[in-house]
């Protein structure tokens, strides 16, 4: 409560949040706030994919065989990340070492 009253809460794009809510995109909605917080004022936020997936509550994906893990990432996480591009991040890159980098807008 004190944080709210002191203005410490991150200001989000309310219209975009409600857009995601109305489109029932809860993962994208979560990623929007999550990535904004993680990037902060940095130019880039880097994270191992396994750690990132764990951060967003999808740690079960890490326990899947590699092929199924990639399939789940492509089907669930990457579309949600694409939705928040230009709102929370400018773009993201995944390298061959299993690292994902998010770039500041």
């Amino acid at each position: 409560m004190e944080s709210l009253r002191s203005g410490y809460l991150k200001r989000l794009d309310f219209d975009f949040c409600l857009y995601l809510d109305r489109e029932t995109q809860p993962l994208a909605r979560f990623l929007y706030a999550h990535l904004l917080k993680r990037i902060g004022e940095k130019s880039v936020y880097t994270r191992q994919i396994t750690g990132f997936v764990n951060d967003i509550g999808l740690g079960l994906i890490n326990q899947l065989p590699p092929m199924r893990r990639n399939e789940r990432l492509k089907r669930t996480v990457l579309p949600a990340l694409n939705l928040v591009k230009t709102h929370a991040i400018s773009h993201y890159e995944i390298d061959g070492q299993g690292t994902i980098a998010f770039f500041h807008i």
Binding site: M1, R5, R22, K37, G40, K42, S43, D55
Partner: protein, 176 residues
């Protein structure tokens, strides 16, 4: 030229020293404790616990004895926060009708089980319990819980070293 380079050039033209690079985020990230509500899980009625462990050995755990809330739940909370936050500057609770919450989300409260789903998801939200040691300055475990007073108001209590007061108060079935 990126926006950061433009800002650096502006600072340079004004004779200001370069803005220092932000420090590594390890200390600050200790304060970050995101809340992946799992509303995107198809198993939200059967999964009742979510544990996230971090590389520094800290953890964040959500227990949901009534199951995790549904896909509309983040929207309910967004509406309550965005339309109700003004109230929090002069009182310790937010009062909004369920009808107005659903209206902002373009959900027809008269349709099917919309209202029942709203009540179910809010009850699941109120039943959530959070445990974490991610607050560096406040190592005690924080938690929140729900209670109901004699007037039928549900209150979400956030209690830890940081939060100490009722934060949310929703009259049941108001406006319907």
């Amino acid at each position: 030229m990126t926006s950061q380079e433009v800002n650096a050039a502006i600072r340079d033209s004004l004779g200001l020293p370069p803005k220092p690079e932000p420090q590594p985020t390890v200390p600050q990230e200790g304060h970050i404790c995101d809340f992946p509500i799992w509303s995107y899980s198809k198993k939200r009625s059967t999964i009742t616990k979510l544990i996230i462990t971090y590389e520094d050995g800290s953890f964040f755990q959500v227990e949901a004895p009534k199951g995790f809330p549904g896909v509309s739940s983040p929207g309910y909370l967004d509406v309550i926060l965005f339309y109700g936050q003004r109230d929090l500057f002069h009182q310790n609770f937010v009062e909004l009708s369920a009808y107005s919450v659903m209206k902002h989300l373009h959900i027809d409260p008269e349709h099917g089980s919309s209202y029942a789903n709203f009540v179910r998801d809010m009850e699941r939200n109120f039943a959530l319990m959070i445990k974490t040691d991610r607050f560096i300055d406040f190592p005690g475990t924080g938690y929140h819980e729900a209670c109901q007073d004699e007037e039928g108001h549900l209150s979400l209590l956030l209690q830890s070293g940081i939060f100490g007061k009722p934060a949310l108060r929703i009259p049941q079935a108001t406006g319907l």
